[in-house]
């Protein structure tokens, strides 16, 4: 009987790490969008024209892109080994598993820098903000940029437009597109002035999202 118990314990300890490694959890990542011909997909995860990295074969994901700006937020169902692999990639920004955790003094600058490097406004991110709050704001930017670039059919960054560009300095087609995108998404653009920057427009848009829920994979932000 004692031997049987010992054997059972040995088997349990042997199996447990395998089960943990195989457990699938939903995680969020900021990634680059890569383009092959006309086909865009999240880097490393694969798509219509590109195979996924070997380590990520079989991973189920959903993409919310930053319009035609080649950045995206990916919700992916990954196991521990795949999470470790993604965390080790220099061009992937991993979001903590607990979205209700808060930004700390120790990582606030890293978060701001990582997002700004992707042309995502982030200087407003503060210690104490939950990751959920940060992601909801960014999802608002992404939705607006999707609509804006859906109208223009162009990536603004390739047209000489940056986050600091003022509305008055935008080509007329982009000014018109901003107004149209605001109408389409039922956003009040009455506060827009000539000196309002793209960065400020995105922040204003996100502040008007109210109770809107952004669904991405198994996440509801």
């Amino acid at each position: 009987m004692r031997r049987l118990l010992v054997l059972l314990c040995v088997l349990l300890f042997a199996v447990a790490p395998v089960a943990a490694q195989g457990e699938i959890v939903a995680r969020l990542y900021f990634v680059d969008i890569v383009q092959t011909g006309i086909y865009r997909s999240p880097d490393h995860f694969g798509g219509r024209a590109v195979a996924p990295d070997t380590e990520l074969i079989g991973v189920q994901w959903a993409l919310m892109d930053y319009g035609l700006i080649p950045q995206g937020l990916v919700a992916a169902e990954v196991n521990a080994a795949q999470q470790t692999y993604l965390a080790g990639l220099p061009d992937v920004t991993v979001i903590p598993a607990n979205l209700d955790a808060t930004v700390t003094a120790g990582n606030v600058n890293a978060i701001r820098n990582a997002l700004e490097a992707r042309n995502i406004p982030a200087t407003w991110v503060n210690v104490g903000d939950s990751y959920r709050v940060v992601l909801r704001e960014i999802a608002g930017y992404f939705q607006f940029m999707q609509r804006l670039t859906g109208i223009t059919g162009l990536n603004p960054l390739t047209q000489g437009i940056t986050l600091s560009t003022q509305y008055q300095n935008l080509p007329q087609v982009w000014q018109d597109a901003i107004q149209q995108a605001a109408i389409d998404l039922q956003i009040d653009a009455s506060g827009l002035t000539g000196t309002t920057t793209i960065r400020a427009i995105l922040r204003n848009v996100a502040s008007q999202s109210g109770s809107k829920v952004y669904r991405l994979g198994s996440f509801a932000l």
Partner: protein, 203 residues
């Protein structure tokens, strides 16, 4: 004409917009062959849209797959533009499924492509948009993870999307319909109910 728009592609073989003038090309070429719709552009994306009505922004389209072969795709499309190669699409070949957006000629996967799956003829592929929620359905039920929040395309016409140049015995779709979501959720429900009814009475 009134929505929903429907087509059984009953026409002579030839270019879809030529044979059925209520369709216009959005990207590439599609064709009628043997009273069904096919993609007809070599190694490229294709789309045609209905042109005879104005759709609400919340809309749907569906098509029944009548033939499936490798690497030739067909399925429904919504919010198709009349000025750009822009639309949401959901299409199959015999073992792959894609749920995507095409914005001004640039294709983006919205979720993981489902490859190496067992696709079967008779399947009804449906795509619908309600606000910024875009969902693909298979026989009336969401197809796996094929649903997302996306704001890229806000309006347009119902249509059909495809890929590749099909020949006689290649991937085809039939019994297409597109309309407004608010309009009694389309006759697809009636078709589904009728099938369930027929399944019961023929037991």
């Amino acid at each position: 004409m009134a929505l929903p728009a429907t087509s059984a592609f009953t026409a002579s073989d030839g270019a879809l917009p030529t044979q059925i003038t209520t369709f216009s090309a959005v990207r590439g070429a599609m064709q009628v062959r043997s009273n069904a719709a096919q993609s007809n552009t070599t190694s490229d994306e294709t789309c045609c849209r209905h042109n005879a009505d104005t759709f609400n922004n919340d809309q749907y389209a569906f098509i029944t797959l009548t033939l499936l072969t490798a690497s030739l795709f067909i399925g429904p499309a919504i919010r198709c533009s009349n000025t750009q190669a822009t639309y949401y699409g959901y299409y199959w070949d015999n073992n792959d499924r894609y749920f995507f957006k095409m914005v001004n000629g640039t294709f983006t996967d919205l979720v993981t492509p489902q490859t190496g799956v067992s696709n079967s003829t008779g399947s009804v592929l449906r795509i619908e948009a309600s606000g910024t929620t875009i969902t693909a359905k298979l026989n009336g039920v969401q197809d796996g993870s094929f649903s997302t929040t996306d704001a890229s395309i806000s309006s347009g016409w119902g249509g059909l999307a495809g890929w590749g140049q099909a020949f006689a015995a290649d991937t085809s779709g039939d019994t297409w319909e597109a309309g407004n979501l608010s309009a009694a959720a389309s006759s697809y429900i009636s078709v589904a109910r009728m099938r369930r009814f027929m399944a019961i009475v023929t037991r």
